[in-house]
């Protein structure tokens, strides 16, 4: 399964009202290309911090579903962020990790997630629900009710290496992204 397709499927299951924080690199760009909207925040720098941003957001917006679109490289760069989520235990926090065991944005250099199961780390840390989806069928099966279940949850989606052609950059400026996302938080 390509990462871009997996990103689009998870975004569709999340719905337009859920607040999504996407990590830097191709995952954010694919979300922007396939399912942009005012409830999406694209972190273009500060690698590793999407889960921390999502946690801060989940704590102050307890009535909203907060979903972090993360990558294996990002999660590994801020493993303490996983512990922080587990410790705070926000029921509205959902961590979706698109794992290709590679740094997809810099040329697919390998990470170490082929030998370290990130969903097992989240489970050991204390996330309520953790699951790995390794095929389109397993992903569809997981997504039927994934975001209705109380979090914190981690859904690890194993995806192919490589980038789909024609995915552009996130076009709005960082300050525009901040303004529109804050407005979307106020408006529902």
């Amino acid at each position: 399964m390509t990462r871009a397709d997996a990103v689009a499927r998870v975004a569709a299951a999340a719905g337009a009202k859920s607040l999504i924080v996407a990590c830097n690199g191709m995952i954010g760009r694919e979300l922007y290309a396939r399912a942009d909207g005012p409830t999406r925040f694209y972190m273009i720098g500060s690698m590793g911090l999407a889960s921390s941003i999502g946690l801060g957001l989940a704590l102050v917006q307890p009535a909203r579903s907060v979903i972090v679109f993360d990558g294996d490289g990002n999660v590994l760069m801020n493993l303490g962020g996983v512990a922080a989520v587990a410790a705070a235990r926000p029921g509205n926090f959902h961590h979706v990790v698109f794992d290709n065991a590679a740094h997809g944005s810099t040329g697919n250099q390998r990470t170490i997630s082929d030998r370290v199961a990130l969903e097992s780390i989240a489970d050991a840390a204390g996330y309520r629900v953790c699951r790995r989806a390794s095929s389109e069928r397993e992903l569809e099966d997981a997504l039927t009710s994934w975001f209705d279940v109380e979090g914190p949850s981690m859904l690890l989606v194993a995806v192919d290496r490589g980038n789909v052609r024609g995915i552009g950059r996130v076009e709005p400026s960082p300050t525009e992204l901040t303004s529109r996302f804050r407005a979307a938080c106020r408006s529902f």
């Binding site: 500060s46 921390s52 941003i53 801060g56 102050v60 303490g80 992204l177 804050r182 938080c185």
Partner: protein, 162 residues
Amino acid sequence: MGRAFLELLERHGYDFFAGVPCSLFEGVTRVLDDDPRYGYVSAVREDSALGLAAGAYLGGRQPVVLMQNSGLGVSVNALASLHQIYDIPTLLVVSWRGQDGDDAPEHAIMGRIMDRFLRLLQIPFAVFDPARIDAQIESLTATMRATQKPVALIVPKGMLDR
């Protein structure tokens, strides 16, 4: 002093607190740890605290991040590629270990360069003065709101220890 300082911050609209402790502001973190109304998040690292603050700001809060100055090193990328470019106004409360050159060796260099370091990162700052702290917070907050970017209050030894 810790509680009075927090009440001062609350009067200026700050309503989300995250950080990593330092003995120089132990009086503040003691209150934050004990009083659940602050919802204080004890962060695993200073850049994680900045991520939490950014998320809280996106969700409508006005954050404060507390850290020892050693944590500024850890925070450079979060400040430069998150807070500064996304316009995330945050009050940084940063202790000043190594200020007088008579501190533990690990604080010597950051203690010596801290003012220049903050200028390089384009972060306006004030050094805690107990006689003027109300005016200092007011002025820092006004700058932060006007620029929509982080500002810092530097806390030397003896100001917020208790």
